[in-house]
Symmetry: C2
Subunit: 680 residues, 2 copies
Amino acid sequence: MTDTTTRYDDDARGPHAPPPPPAPASAAARPVVPARGTRRGAGLGEVAFDAGGFWGDRQDVNAAATLAHCERWMEELGWLENFDRVARGERTVDRPGWQFSDSEVYKLMEAAAWESARSGDAGAEALFVRLADRVTAAQDDDGYLTTAFGHPGLEPRYSDLAMGHELYNMGHLLQAAVARLRTAGADDAFVAAGRRVAEHVCREFGAGGRDELCGHPEIEVALAEFGRATGEPRYVEQARIFIERRGHGRLPVRPLLAADYFQDDVPVRDAEALRGHAVRALYLTAGAVDVAVDTGDDGLLESLVRQWRRTVERRTYLTGGMGSRHQDEGFGDDFELPADRAYCETCAGVASIMVSWRLYLATGEAEYADLIERTLYNVVAASPSADGCAFFYANPLHLREAADPVEAAGVHMRAEGGLRAPWFDVSCCPTNVARTLASLQAYAVSVDGPAALSVLQYAAGNVSVELDDGRLAVSVATGYPHDGTVVLSVTDAPATPVTLRLRVPHWARRASLWSTTAAGGARRVDAAPGWAHVSQVLAAGDEIRLVLGDEPRLTWPDSRIDAVRGTVAVERGPLVLCLESPDLPAGMEIYGFVLDASAPPQPANDGASVRLLPRPGRDASGGRLPFGPCEDPADGTPAQRPDAPGGQPAEGGLEVRLIPYYRWAERGPSTMRVFLPAST
Amino acid sequence: MTDTTTRYDDDARGPHAPPPPPAPASAAARPVVPARGTRRGAGLGEVAFDAGGFWGDRQDVNAAATLAHCERWMEELGWLENFDRVARGERTVDRPGWQFSDSEVYKLMEAAAWESARSGDAGAEALFVRLADRVTAAQDDDGYLTTAFGHPGLEPRYSDLAMGHELYNMGHLLQAAVARLRTAGADDAFVAAGRRVAEHVCREFGAGGRDELCGHPEIEVALAEFGRATGEPRYVEQARIFIERRGHGRLPVRPLLAADYFQDDVPVRDAEALRGHAVRALYLTAGAVDVAVDTGDDGLLESLVRQWRRTVERRTYLTGGMGSRHQDEGFGDDFELPADRAYCETCAGVASIMVSWRLYLATGEAEYADLIERTLYNVVAASPSADGCAFFYANPLHLREAADPVEAAGVHMRAEGGLRAPWFDVSCCPTNVARTLASLQAYAVSVDGPAALSVLQYAAGNVSVELDDGRLAVSVATGYPHDGTVVLSVTDAPATPVTLRLRVPHWARRASLWSTTAAGGARRVDAAPGWAHVSQVLAAGDEIRLVLGDEPRLTWPDSRIDAVRGTVAVERGPLVLCLESPDLPAGMEIYGFVLDASAPPQPANDGASVRLLPRPGRDASGGRLPFGPCEDPADGTPAQRPDAPGGQPAEGGLEVRLIPYYRWAERGPSTMRVFLPAST
């Protein structure tokens, strides 16, 4: 965590090298398999989260409820029938759904494929096949496949590349095909359809073809991974062409919107930070990392690492959320991080994890896994309701006016945050959450070369990986994130020395690690934020105990973030906490206080207890105009004004509890804030 | 300023009473002539601003440069030819301009009409006639007149009422016709075209017609005033129908946007504050005030006063700017007033003045004139460049990244603020500024009943009005807004007592008023914020001296405005000041300091001088992640971090100058902020 230079692995193979030897079968089912590098993520068969644990529970709800929920909504809204109509050759009149609705079907298929591999759930397999049949029937002979263009009654193919999302849709189809190939292990009809799509795209947009771009990146990361999965370097090459083609002003500037919306303002390798539409920027970056890694483009990779760092240091919320503007669903300027108008789209959280994961695999740095953890607990986990059938789209850190419950009843037209909705007019988030949860254990550990395992995310469960000299298996016992102690028990190990690396989160300033052998020897290992590791011969019965601590703590924001000056947040472990109106006395407004920063927050259930004090004066409510009390030139002090209505704590203070942010709005419409005005 | 109850005049005539007797000819040329009430605004012939004064200069530049600038751009872009093509009956292919481009032509015509009356400028008259000929030639036999619908090659009439802007366009035509009728004094061909438009609208959308609404309010305020100008109560009645029809969900909810965008979520009289798209909300409110006043609907008027008050107290910027969100170009929630993402569209400033002026005429309260002053100096005056040929569209109070000068060269697609542009793709602001400047003296004074004159806005010039017992004429000498002393010299007066009311701005806490008679007697008059007045027989040579003061002052924002907590603004007279990067030493960032709030700001040229101190620590730049330094549980104090790059003042402080906000970005692309982090 203290090294600021860029490092990444390079196994010295040249560009377009063939993929490395396949991982063991249990490791094959994973979303990202770089062609180079000595580090690999876990296959879905190598890690299992315990049922009833934080993530295991969410995975089970995802499988049992969310997948069917998504299919039902898409059927009801006609997004699935769009494929049938094309397959039947019918003329389309008033096609339902946005031009990107196909992609939701593919993300659901991807989720079903991962889920099938994760749990062996026959329902997920049946869902995949059911959808695949309808999708593949709509493919044109030349491989083109979308339901919004190029068929009777629709605009011609590629007539609106900026906003048409055709390549975006086909990109998500390819990601579903990657999941299918790596989980079913077979080159079935859907994978074959994917090959035809990829060939079509290379033919149409390759060298000598259309010198154009899709307005929404996605095809890049998809072609790269499909190329990896199929061993076809031409697909990776086509991804490279798209990456290099971007940033030269091919896409139109749109009225009233920012120039960088499409990331077509600056070449990818020349950019300084992520900018414009957040999901677009992040999908593009994920694809660019893939291209940089697979082609050995070290300059590009270094640039992407720099961009990630500046983005995380200056354009990322405490929750890990990205996207400071509702306008353009976009990043803001450096330090433009308003809590109230934070967009922090759930999909941007998913996409941020995609980028961080690729950079972790390329570099092995803990900071990427740190951000993945922060984003998983405070963005992705915040989105779905407990029953898996309603979702947050935007994830603001402050809501002043409670949402209207009526709005959540049906298809939600808006994305303001405040109430989870079953479906959205633009419904990218539910299926993105689904595919992420279904494959979540892939991000939990990595195998680093011949004899090392890194544990990145802590959850009760089991890990079993094949190292060069044999199997390493550990069971993980923890109440994380609500308990800061993680106990790893070795159940199987090679006879030769192995390295076990444990990530120590940046917030765990006083972590400790104890390694105890089955024979009874115990020693304390250095555990500063970053990595703690044991390198030795391990044996069944050995135990490694990581104590990260779980005291709530105050987190002071960077003073350059104007929007939260004079406030403080409270965190506990990896969880950002928040104050929600149901936890305030009746009649007290969410702004009627300051937090007593001299009193340390105390643990309380899964959150914390803090003391609130009356808000000091200085407001305009005593006047008629909002321009604030004017300084009286006579004495130079700001006028103290009577307070506004809304109620305040008594002079002696008021203890209130903060809850984990991911659980807010579970008790109905509410107001909420993460950053609390602080006493000074 | 201390009375919080709602009061307005009621002359006890019933609804739909005929208009009051006409004002003298010199008073006829004014934009708002309520059918009821004892108070009237000045005619353009009753007030003249001195050439070279603050507003006189801007009016002259407007006449000499802006009107021609706007005509030239609209000719070049084909927005004028749109009328010719319709007149010729040609089929339209690829019509240039948005569906509301017609309205820019009408706003320019309105400006030309006022300008012609203000200065007698033959060029302005010729411009009006030139445009009127082309516009009227495009009118359909039944009165319908737009160039974006209902003609060969275009969509049918009223096929997209939500976004088509047909009634909006025709509303602006009617406002141009009002200006023509009241300045030329004749019912010419253009006014006749206006009558046909109004009749068409009443026929089409009246009782028994289409039960629909235009997505962008404007027709309401236009029909009401055209009804007043022509003495036709059916037009006011149609305005009333549109006001009552709104708020029942006739317009569609749009994806990803706020429900209140069109103000169709809540009936006008039931709303609590202005909300949604700011210009839409303000135009609607202006029309609603007109309807309430003319129909004697006291309940509606009281509601509108309440809405204005809450909007001003909780949703209005220090500059008077309205619109907290780029998304939807909209109002935010209460206290959602980010400085950086302030939209504060110039047109919303114009529209806010329209509302405040109508409420002033209805109630006579000084607070409305206060807000008009604030908005004129800090929004409207900020928009045009000194040469009158470039304009701000958005008026943020904080810019972190300097604009790209290339962007300003041609038609500006965006509205981010930071650089004035000659024209915009959506170019509503230039013509709105033009029509406001051309008629500005109408807002300077009011005649209140038979024997009283209120002076509302201070500018060097002359006022001459007919009271019941004779002419009252005063000359005004002042360097306002840069000098806080205003001297009124009586040059003519009736032989009977008159009341002269002078507005004392809310910020002038220690104002004094001296009344001196030609005979040599002098007395001091009470001059607390609100009104100061003398009621006596006046005579030529009498002098009234109002001393408002012009010391710069600190203005502390309401503590409920999260976005500017811990900051302070500096104002001087009616001017909001700002710190702009050219006034900082090279290398110092716009965030690298705090203002020393213990040192009173000092006058410096037309702005102020303040002392900056180094910014105290507490930022994340020493770490790798942006999550802020964590409190160390051991000692409970926030970690102090080394500072970020960017330069800071030396320990002893640094004197810098602040300039009036309206002059920012005159020295090329810059960063800027109004609210300065303050030492505590």
